[in-house]
């Protein structure tokens, strides 16, 4: 089943999401990128109802881009998270709500702080040091309670992430086999190989 997690460290946020695209019990694809770079220092992983996810993620991506074109600077992570939340909260009480869960991780270039927001399809937002969505969250959150260090350098952060992935593949019956991992820090966004 779909799993995504993210954690903050010293000057960076790591976002990881599995790469399977499933329909019922069938795996349709195993190289799907479910983490979008929505602005130069902002990553967003999305999971939920297939169709809704891509549609909503692209809607967010284009609107954040439009803001940047109009104002010549991008939204900061907290502002972007607030706007995304509002979009979801308005959608929730509409005729056809988006069923999308998000992790928004970014680097605030003004305060030089990494920021991570846990957002669900209801429009619930919480700024957190680490977060997870999907069945993996039941294993990963307790593991991160023990091992997460907000001051850890990138290597340690990635090591912690590997432990999370190992734990999920060990304990979860319907565990994904591949993950895509992206990092955002002062230099922007990049993908890392584990």
């Amino acid at each position: 089943m779909e799993t995504s997690f993210a954690l903050t460290g010293k000057g960076y946020v790591i976002v990881a999401a599995d790469t399977t695209s499933a329909r019922s019990i069938v795996k349709m694809k195993n190289d799907e990128d479910k983490i979008k770079t929505v602005s130069p220092h902002l990553l967003m992983s999305y999971s939920g109802e297939p169709g809704d996810t891509v549609q909503f993620a692209e809607y967010i991506e284009r609107n954040l881009r439009l803001y940047q074109i109009r104002n010549l600077y991008p939204l900061r992570p907290s502002a972007a998270a607030s706007w995304i939340r509002r979009s979801l909260a308005e959608s929730l009480r509409s005729r056809s709500p988006y069923s999308v869960n998000l992790l928004v991780g970014g680097y605030d270039t003004s305060t030089h702080e990494p920021k991570l927001y846990w957002i669900d399809y209801l429009g619930t937002v919480s700024e957190v040091p680490f977060a997870a969505h999907g069945y993996g969250s039941y294993f990963v959150l307790s593991l991160l309670d023990r091992y997460h260090d907000p001051e850890a350098p990138l290597e340690e952060g990635l090591a912690t992430l590997k432990r999370c992935i190992q734990e999920v593949s060990k304990r979860l019956i319907v565990s994904p086999e591949k993950y895509k991992v992206k990092v955002v820090d002062k230099d922007g966004v990049r993908e890392v190989e584990l």
Partner: protein, 208 residues
Amino acid sequence: MSIMDHNGGSVIAMVGKDCVAIASDLRLGNQALGISSNFQRVFGITDRIYLGLPGLATDVNTLRERFRFRVNMYTIKEEREIEPEAFAHLVSSTLYEHRFGPYFIEPVIAGLSKTPTGGIRPFIAATDLIGCINFAKDFVVSGTASSKLFGVAEGLWEPDLEPEDLFETISQTLLNAVDRDAFSGWGAVVHVITKDKVITRKLKARMD
């Protein structure tokens, strides 16, 4: 499971001698899974009014934005700050506007209102999710631990408590009530509103 209990969380407010206190836990959950231990659901409306919003977390944010907007509009139109009584009715009417598709929040209001003689009078109130106001002289409770909060508050509260004693009473009430509730806890915050200042303290709580 009710939608009201989806994210968990509880709020309590108490009256003291020329002061009021409002306290809340800090848990944000997704059913039984804990997501955050630093989720604020008590907000300052003016220097003398605080509002607690226990219930569905998405509506905590939505209502906070709504109330900020409506209080700002009130302040501009009236050219004065809103009084707690008026604010309680603003909360009530905002919720009743959504009578047949409500926000899943049961707010708690705590503040100090001005008397005609120039003094101050403590004010607390709570409403249900469609805006029925409950004015109380002693304490009001709301949230997933409300049944437990009633019991403890009934036992600990007494009239005319000074700010520091009121702080102790509300803190012990909240802490002991949320320890019996699986959906509340994970830290707590207390605001004591007095005539010339607001004392805000974070409490160490059981993290299980």
